[in-house]
């Protein structure tokens, strides 16, 4: 019995070590190498563009950027990847910083706002990119936990968070292992070191010094056929973070109202930005009952904006904006031309 037990343990230990080592060093989401975000932030804070970066923690980067930058912007963008392409050129009269993070939730927006607040860098205006999943309790997003302490301070909670659990649990995660093992060769050969660039358009995606993003060459220059394929395959699968959107989250709505109130108390001008879905995707949202809450979210936001005299740009519905497939990179991300159209309308 003991022989069996010890042999099984002996068999498992090398596998456990392999799992932890690959997850730690491959580190697909850059959970264990905070230095990486610091290096990117340093380049951006020096006013340069940075490329050849991958799988970093966007929340930690915001923390580094906001804490260590000397610049205070007039306009700040809070939102997700759907607002990440909004850049300073659209607002030539003012300075702009785009603090969007992928898959942003209400907790992300609160945490980043709190970062600005604590560092006394609150802007004059905040444009909030709101996605339907902001009010979906089942959105499956937990990346905000990287900067959760700011969220808890905003809501005056004594909770310090469970970053340890969130982060170190990944050391033993097999799905994290699958992503990290693919990154391992790049880590070993130093292929993911951030590179300073003067060009906005590079082979890899590029983060500009205003915080906005320029997609990689392959994504940026795709033909309309490829884009249509992207949209078609997106429609076939689960729609990002809005599956299981069974109820409109009243709790998130309360947080949202609290955030708006705090901004108003700090005399910040607020505008909303609703990024559209590609026409085929919106058609599915409109036709399938399970996405009814997406439509309700837009209605509720529109009413709220009218009641509170806040400006609202855009819509989830591309037809409202007269945007066809040519204005999209994929099922849920508009091109720069689409963003210009929305902002200037």
């Amino acid at each position: 019995m003991k022989k069996f037990f010890y042999k099984t343990i002996a068999l498992c230990i090398p596998l456990l070590i392999l799992l932890v080592l690959v997850n730690y060093f491959g580190d697909a989401a850059r959970l264990f190498g905070n230095d990486y975000e610091k290096r990117i932030a340093q380049i951006l804070n020096d006013g340069h563009y940075v490329t050849n970066i991958g799988n970093y923690d966007e929340r930690l980067l915001q923390k580094e950027l906001i804490s260590n930058s000397n610049i205070k912007s007039d306009i700040v963008i809070l939102g997700s990847s759907r607002t990440m392409l909004i850049n300073a050129e659209l607002f030539p009269e003012s300075s702009l910083y785009n603090s969007s993070v992928s898959g942003a939730t209400i907790e992300d927006m609160i945490s980043i706002y709190q970062l600005y607040k604590e560092n006394k860098k609150l802007p004059l205006k905040i444009i909030i990119g709101i996605d339907p999943w902001t009010f979906n309790d089942n959105n499956g997003q937990n990346r905000w936990l990287s900067i959760e302490e700011y969220y808890y301070r905003f809501i005056n909670s004594s909770k310090n968070g469970s970053l340890f659990n969130f982060k170190y649990k990944e050391l033993f995660s097999l799905s994290y292992f699958q992503s990290s093992i693919k990154m391992l060769p790049n880590v070993i050969f130093g292929d993911i070191n951030p590179q300073v660039t003067k060009e906005k358009h590079n082979k890899m995606f590029t983060k500009l010094s205003d915080g906005s993003l320029v997609y990689d060459e392959l994504y940026r220059t795709a033909s309309i056929e490829i884009i249509n394929n992207r949209i078609a395959s997106y429609v076939e699968g689960n729609l990002y973070s809005v599956e299981n959107f069974d109820d409109f989250s009243e709790n998130n709505w309360r947080l949202f109202e609290k955030l708006i109130l705090d901004m108003q108390n700090n005399e910040i001008d607020i505008e909303f930005f609703l990024a559209p879905y590609a026409p085929l995707v919106y058609k599915r949202i409109n036709n399938e009952n399970k996405y009814a809450m997406v439509l309700r979210t837009e209605n509720k936001l529109r009413n709220y904006a009218i009641t509170n005299s806040l400006k609202l740009h855009g819509s989830f519905n591309p037809t409202e904006l007269e945007m066809d497939e040519r204005f999209f990179y994929d099922g849920m991300h508009s091109k720069e031309s689409g963003i210009i159209k929305i902002i200037n309308e």
């Binding site: 069996f4 068999l11 090398p14 596998l15 995660s173 097999l174 292992f177 395959s233 076939e236 699968g237």
Partner: protein, 483 residues
């Protein structure tokens, strides 16, 4: 708790250590530990439904004891019917209530009468079909005087709730499993190693084969209107391997886990996709359910005795009930009926027991005839699985209509074709290993047992690393949990 979850990976060694290192000298304590850990295992999903298992256990325990004491046949029958009504009543309510209400409403409106009845938002308790059948067999066997009822309530509770097979079988008979709870369990090193090997193979089947196939099967079935006939054939094939990998993988893990605790469960799958006719397929697929229906339904109905019409009637009853056991949907009933249609010609021509032995026994390759028969049987099975997987009858018919259209002769296309190609390579590897091990109880039972230790360990590590690198770890539920 899922077998392919971190929770189970922690739960199993804890129970194992307590079982063998802390209370290994007392059978009663070991049984009590099994009961408690089984309740934790089950309650991990929804502790509320534990009450159903406990209620079922108490009822059948006392009915069993009463059946022993009672000599009056009418009263014995009454006791048996009490057990049947309570167990099947729970099953019927939780699993079939909404189905019957919906169909009554449809039937009445067909004849011009509008009736109103509310369906209920009922959660199906995981594994209810499995443990209900297990307890039913206990009461029926005592009634038939084939089994002495137990007076050991803890042993009986352990038999009903034994966690390795509680939620998805194999459905054990009291005559086989219950006596094992009375005997002292001695740890067998070779038995435990064999159990671990079977668990490893089960995990490979579930995580690498079934869960990867599930992604493509779901994609194709859920959007079947957008795909060509050739792609739909691929979708049906992916589902064919998904359901086999999923369910037989679960059985392997269940049997392997039981062996770690000194228990022997019955084989549930015997390489069914290598069958040469449908009768052989049904002797090799979900054996514990097929034999349950044979012993408690088919034979009492008269079996294959009697005239032709009786044989036809009994065959249809057993296959349709078997289909209905899988779920409250007409698709399962059609699936069952279709299998009855496949099976009947064999029964009526008395060729249903032509292929009792293992295919190509002692040979590396099958004969041309065997290969042909195997492919025909496999094709019929794949066709029947379309009904099993489809959302409703209309969906299944549309799916089949597209397959038999000219688009069958186009090149299959769907999102993620390259990744699917890797899955196909794993299916080929899987079939090769299954073919090689088809004379054993599970595919790798004898693979490499005579190899030198380092080579053996290399094989284990290879399998584990394949699971780690190519497995699907989104904690997909086992399909049969819903049945």
């Amino acid at each position: 708790m899922l077998f392919n979850s971190i929770d189970f990976a922690l739960f199993l060694p804890i129970v194992f250590v307590l079982y063998w290192f802390v209370i290994n000298k007392k059978i009663k304590l070991q049984n009590l530990l099994i009961v408690l850990s089984s309740y934790i295992f089950y309650g991990w999903w929804d502790w509320r439904f534990l009450s159903l298992i406990i209620f079922s256990t108490v009822i059948d325990y006392f009915i069993g004891l009463s059946l022993l004491k009672q000599e009056n046949e009418t009263k014995r029958k009454l006791l048996l019917w009490t057990s049947l009504l309570i167990n099947l009543g729970f099953l019927g309510f939780f699993k079939y209530y909404n189905f019957f209400i919906d169909n009554f409403i449809t039937a009445f409106s067909f004849f011009g009468t509008e009736i109103t009845a509310n369906t209920l938002n009922i959660i199906l308790p995981v594994g209810i079909s499995f443990y209900t059948f297990q307890t039913l067999s206990y009461s029926i066997d005592i009634y038939r005087r084939k089994l002495e009822p137990t007076t050991d309530f803890i042993a009986f509770s352990a038999f009903v709730s034994f966690f390795p097979q509680l939620v998805a079988g194999p459905i054990e008979r009291a005559t086989h499993l219950l006596p094992q709870f009375y005997k002292k369990r001695n740890f067998s090193y070779h038995g435990a190693v064999d159990g671990m090997r079977q668990i490893l193979w089960g995990l490979f089947k579930k995580i690498v084969i079934a869960d990867n196939c599930a992604a493509y099967a779901n994609l194709i079935f859920n959007n079947s209107a957008d795909y060509s006939g050739s792609t739909l054939v691929l979708g049906a094939l992916f589902f064919t391997f998904q359901i086999y990998g999923d369910f037989s993988g679960y059985s392997d893990i269940a049997i392997g886990t039981s062996r770690l605790f000194g228990f022997d469960l019955k084989q549930n799958f015997a390489f069914p996709y290598f069958s040469r006719d449908i009768a052989e397929f049904w002797r090799r697929w979900h054996i514990s359910l097929s034999t349950w229906f044979r012993d408690y339904l088919y034979i009492p109905l008269g079996g294959s005795r009697g005239g032709t019409w009786m044989k036809i009637r009994n065959t249809f009853i057993i296959f349709i009930v078997s289909g209905f056991w899988h779920g409250a949907n007409w698709t399962y009933i059609i699936w069952g009926a279709l299998n009855a249609i496949y099976f009947l010609p064999l029964l009526l021509t008395k060729s249903n027991r032509n292929n009792i032995d293992v295919i190509a026994q002692g040979n590396c390759f099958p004969t041309i005839k065997e290969l042909f028969l195997m492919l025909i049987t496999f094709g019929l099975t794949v066709f029947a699985w379309i009904f099993f997987r489809a959302n409703n009858i209309e969906h299944a018919l549309d799916y089949i209509a597209e397959i038999v259209s000219p688009s069958l002769f186009t090149i299959p296309m769907f999102v993620g074709m390259f990744d699917a190609f890797i899955t196909v390579i794993f299916i080929a590897f899987f079939l090769l290993i299954e073919w090689k091990g088809r004379e054993s109880k599970y595919a790798i039972a004898t693979l490499g047992v005579n190899w030198r230790k380092p080579v053996q360990y290399a094989m284990y590590y290879c399998l584990i690393i394949i699971i780690m690198c190519y497995g699907n770890f989104s904690e997909n539920q086992f399909i049969y949990f819903q049945f």
